[in-house]
């Protein structure tokens, strides 16, 4: 099964999948979930615990530094993801792949994959052109044969006519002797 039909791996960042969401959606959700869980792990309690001495000294400042840290981290990560998506034109590719997968949903057998040997794979790519070429050749050959048949008829008729003329001339010749 394609798309989001499979189960998410363990208690990880697998989002609940009602009706297979598109790849773009899954991508976004997965990244958001990652960030959520990361922020949850690196919680303020944990932060304050590590920087205990400073926290004791300046609790409010600690809080504000932490908030900025987390929000800056998340926005940098989201920006990076967006850059990757833009560079690779991923949204378009994801949608197009979703469509392709949807169209193939009724096929069960594994599809063709490149064999790794270009000479073999290029054969099938050439076949449609060869087939076209073959049918073109068959057509023009037939036309040529038909054309020649007609010309051959004219040639034979011409030979008869010439023989006829030769006979007439012979006859005249004899008449004058």
């Amino acid at each position: 099964a394609a798309g989001g039909g499979g189960p998410g791996p363990g208690p990880g960042p697998g989002p609940p999948v009602p009706a297979a969401p598109g790849r773009a959606q899954v991508f976004t959700t997965v990244v958001d979930t990652f960030l959520e869980k990361l922020a949850a792990a690196g919680s303020y309690q944990r932060f304050a615990n590590c920087y205990r001495c400073f926290y004791k000294l300046q609790p409010e400042m600690t809080r504000s530094i932490y908030d900025q840290f987390i929000s800056q981290l998340q926005s940098s990560i989201k920006e990076e993801i967006q850059e990757v998506k833009d560079e690779g034109n991923l949204d378009v590719l994801f949608n197009s792949l979703d469509k392709i997968v949807e169209e193939a949903k009724n096929r069960e057998e594994p599809a063709w994959r490149p064999s790794g040997i270009p000479e073999e794979d290029v054969r099938s790519a050439m076949v449609p052109y060869l087939l076209k070429h073959r049918s073109y050749l068959r057509k023009v050959l037939k036309e040529k044969e038909e054309e020649n048949r007609k010309v051959a008829e004219s040639v034979l008729a011409g030979r008869d006519r010439i023989a006829e003329l030769q006979q007439l001339i012979e006859a005249r010749k004899h008449a004058w002797q």
Partner: protein, 210 residues
């Protein structure tokens, strides 16, 4: 552990999914480290505003390392789960899916022998066509020759007909007959001439005797 090169996916996306994941991982990790350094430097700066406090930069560094180590562990775990999902659900092409650009392989799965047979058939057709083309040329060449020959023969025939017309015009009907008539007449004339000669000879003799 067998590594799936994900070459078909690379064909579609223009990059290998694993490379994409690696790039993202490195970028994320860099941000994490960067942010931690910023946090540390901000805290140190703030501490400068408290000259009396007993907190040393060394302690702060230790705190930073502690927090960073913790974050890194979770980061790696969470990232590897995310990577798994992305590689399985998003950046993958299911086994039963054929990309549209590869449709020909499904439509025309020709074996080496079938392909060779098709090529041979095409060569054969080309040979036949060339043969027909030259046969056609030869036929048309003969047709041209025939035209010339026919023209000559017709000219001769016309000449004969012209001759007959001339004779007819001059009233001698059949030249053959006239020729024969001429021949007979000249013979008669010759006979008459002979007669006249003999008769005149007789008369002369008579005259001599008288």
């Amino acid at each position: 552990m067998s590594v799936n090169p994900m070459a078909y996916e690379a064909q579609f996306f223009g990059f290998t999914p694993q490379t994409c994941m690696l790039r993202i991982y490195i970028a994320f990790q860099d941000y994490l480290f960067e942010m931690m350094l910023v946090v540390e430097s901000v805290i140190l700066k703030k501490l400068d505003g408290f000259p009396g406090c007993k907190i040393s930069p060394f302690q702060i560094r230790k705190s930073t390392e502690k927090f960073l180590l913790f974050m890194k562990e979770h980061f790696d775990k969470l990232f590897s789960k995310m990577e798994e999902v992305l590689l399985q659900l998003v950046l993958n092409i299911p086994k039963n899916v054929l990309l549209p650009e590869d449709k020909v392989h499904e439509q025309y799965p020709y074996s080496k022998e079938q392909f060779q047979a098709l090529q041979d058939e095409i060569h054969q057709l080309q040979k036949q066509y060339r043969a027909e083309a030259s046969a056609g040329q030869a036929l048309r060449a003969e047709l041209e020759e025939q035209k010339a020959v026919r023209a000559e023969l017709e000219k001769i025939l016309q000449w004969f007909d012209g001759l007959e017309n001339i004779c007819r015009e001059h009233g001698t009907g059949n030249f053959k007959e006239s020729f024969a008539f001429l021949t007979r007449n000249s013979k008669k004339l010759q006979d008459v001439l002979k007669d006249v000669e003999e008769k005149s000879k007789k008369i002369k003799k008579h005259d001599q005797l008288l």
